[in-house]
Symmetry: C2
Subunit: 95 residues, 2 copies
């Protein structure tokens, strides 16, 4: 029984690190997107595109989490990426 | 330039779905862990283990997000999984 517990915990640790890597990869992509959009004179943040992304994610969702939980988590992930773009913007203003 | 924008958006959509799959895989693992712990008369929620997991994640982190953002996001992910265990517990009580 405890072997099973240890092996599930190992697997959980691996999933945590994979999540970390993906969250950071996502952050990097959002930064790149923001840079291109700014270079084109577009606003980096696009609430309509964010809503589309969220709808697409929720459509693919099958559980075990509630849909509302998935929405909440992704909104937090989106918000973090937005802060990253804003940081960049403020740094630009300071140069 | 717009091709580059489209290709980054496609990549972002893929990362979103990978994140969704990992978050749900994590939820499933936490449920299994909780079931085993309950069967052994242990409490499913272990704040010390949660702190260890978070420390391990933060140690591996290299950016672009702030450490505090990563901590915040993982605390939300942990909280969601905890709610999943509690839901199960309440369902058990109702049977």
């Amino acid at each position: 029984m405890n072997n099973q517990l240890d092996s599930l915990r190992d697997e959980l640790d691996q999933v945590n690190i994979q999540l970390l890597e993906l969250i950071n990869k996502r952050g990097q992509l959002v930064k790149e997107l923001g840079d291109i959009k700014k270079a084109q004179g577009m606003k980096a943040y696009d609430p309509e595109r964010e809503r589309d992304m969220l709808n697409h994610i929720v459509e693919q969702h099958q559980g075990p989490f509630e849909y509302s939980t998935i929405e909440h988590l992704f909104k937090e992930i989106f918000k973090a990426a937005k802060e990253l773009q804003e940081d960049d913007y403020h740094k630009t203003l300071l140069v």
